[in-house]
Every structure is written in structure tokens, then in C-alpha cells.
């Protein structure tokens, strides 16, 4: 059923973010590419955050707004001079508002090879109880 056709990857420009509020910390701000999908039980967000280490990643969930912030230190050391620069590095930021009610205690996050995987389990709704009507 699945026809996997390997095609060539196209380069994507890193998207610079424009936020309504200005950043107090200087530096570039980028919007990371994400995949979001949902099953019956959970919502999963996968974000490409190359260059971000676990200690530089911050995930914040409050009032149904999920914020992902990843800081990247410039990989070039002091003595290096640029010959070709096709991408820049900076902070990654993306915000989502969650429509489902999320079970905050069950959130799982893992960061591997620059890819963040966030599992947000949904709150299981109470099972409706049938009420028998006694024929009287």
C-alpha cells in the first residue's frame, strides 16, 4: 500500500520568526520545522532543533499554551573566518495553543540528534455511566 519513492531533499531556508514582543536577549530567532500528529490517546509534536543540547532546551506549558525554546551556541570558534555561510544559528522558538486537555503529569520529552519528541497524553474523559430506569 505504501509506495516509498526516495526523492531528493530540497533545502529549506530557516524561517526567521517575528514575534509581537521583542527579545531581550540579542541574537537571531528561528521557527523550527515540526510534525504534529494525534492519536486517540495522545498528541505528539516532533521538532527539528539541530545544534540544541538538552541543557539548552526549555519546554513550558501553561494555560493551554505550549512553548518550545532551544538555544544554540555558535559552533564556530573565535579564530575562524567565514568562507561560505548558507545558514545562521540562533534560538529556536515555537508556540502552540493546545485545544485538547492535556494530562500535564504524563508529558514525555526526549531530545536525540537535534530532534525533540514531545508526547502529550490526553486526559481520559470519564466513562459515561448508564442509569437504568426502573419500570414502576
Amino acid at each position: 500500500m505504501n509506495q516509498t519513492e526516495t526523492r531528493e531533499l530540497k533545502p529549506a531556508e530557516k524561517r526567521e520568526a517575528e514575534l509581537p514582543a521583542e527579545q531581550t536577549k540579542p541574537g537571531l530567532l528561528f521557527t523550527p520545522a515540526v510534525d504534529i500528529f494525534e492519536t486517540e490517546k495522545s498528541l505528539t509534536i516532533i521538532a527539528d532543533l539541530p545544534g540544541v543540547k538538552t541543557e539548552d532546551l526549555e519546554i513550558d506549558l501553561r494555560k493551554d499554551t505550549l512553548t518550545i525554546i532551544g538555544d544554540v551556541k555558535s559552533p564556530e570558534s573565535e579564530g575562524e573566518s567565514d568562507i561560505l555561510r548558507e545558514f545562521r544559528t540562533g534560538r529556536y522558538l515555537r508556540r502552540f495553543s493546545l485545544s485538547e486537555v492535556i494530562n500535564q503529569k504524563g508529558i514525555g520529552a526526549s531530545l536525540k540528534d537535534g530532534v525533540l519528541r514531545l508526547e502529550l497524553p490526553k486526559v481520559t474523559k470519564a466513562v459515561p455511566r448508564k442509569i437504568e430506569v426502573q419500570a414502576g
Partner: protein
């Protein structure tokens, strides 16, 4: 309408009915050229090349890949990076709301401004960032010239 066709695909050239669209398409393709400061070769992955006294450095962002999925070959003045990026299948019953991450093959050759010693090239891959360190050959290193 009577007319003669010399080939199956009429070639209107620059005067065809789609000339406005073609101009727009070309302008869209060079959006990157309008960005201040840097341009892209239009090939994945986007790479940065830098140098210091002794080495050239080539860096590329390849999130989600592992070191063994990337093929790197180096010659005296070129380095090529190729591989395939796979996005894991998530299974049945999954509803996607966003699908922005791309998967597929890539292959790119980068020419270096000077010559390097291919036997001493080192590559490291961490947090989705590939760094290739290419030590310059003696001929490429800058030489101090003393004035008598």
C-alpha cells in the same frame, strides 16, 4: 484552428502566454538571493564553510540522522556529503495536523578554496550538527614573509 506544430510541446520562448507567470516563478526562485548577507546554492544540506590558520571547517545541519547514515568523502580540494534522511513511520490511526519535516536523499559536493590532506580529515556529528575538519596542506597555509 489550423496551424502547424513542429513538436509535441510548443515552445513559446519568452513571448508565450505564460511569460508573466515565468517571470514570477523566476523571481520566487531567487527569494534567497534577496536576503541580506548570504545566499544559498539551493542544495540540501545548507552548509557553512570557514577556516582558521590550519584547517577548513564544513558544517551542516542534519537533525534526526545518525553518524552511520551520512557518507562523507574527501579529496584534495573537495568534500562531498550524501545520505538519506528518513522520517519514522508512526503507525496506524494517526492523524497529522502539521507535516513540515522533510525526508529523502541528498548528495552535495563542496569545493574548497585551498588544498587539504584527505588522510587527516575528521568528521564529528553531535546534536544533529555535522562538523568536518579538514587540515590544510602545507601549500594552503598562509606563510609569514619577513621583510629584510
Amino acid at each position: 484552428m489550423p496551424g502547424t506544430r513542429f513538436s509535441n510541446y510548443p515552445d513559446w520562448g519568452v513571448w508565450g502566454p505564460f511569460r508573466g507567470l515565468e517571470r514570477l516563478r523566476r523571481a520566487m526562485g531567487s527569494v534567497a538571493a534577496g536576503s541580506p548577507g548570504y545566499s544559498t546554492a539551493g542544495v540540501f544540506p545548507l552548509t557553512n564553510v570557514s577556516e582558521d590558520q590550519d584547517n577548513y571547517y564544513v558544517r551542516a545541519e542534519l537533525p534526526g540522522m545518525t553518524a552511520d547514515q551520512i557518507d562523507i568523502t574527501a579529496t584534495v580540494d573537495k568534500v562531498s556529503i550524501s545520505g538519506e534522511r528518513a522520517i519514522s513511520e508512526e503507525g496506524e490511526g494517526v492523524v497529522y495536523h502539521r507535516r513540515e519535516r522533510d525526508s529523502g536523499t541528498f548528495s552535495r559536493m563542496i569545493g574548497l578554496p585551498g588544498s587539504v590532506d584527505p588522510d587527516k580529515v575528521e568528521a564529528s556529528f553531535g546534536n544533529g550538527m555535522l562538523t568536518i575538519k579538514l587540515p590544510k596542506s602545507e601549500a594552503s597555509k598562509p606563510k609569514q614573509i619577513t621583510v629584510n
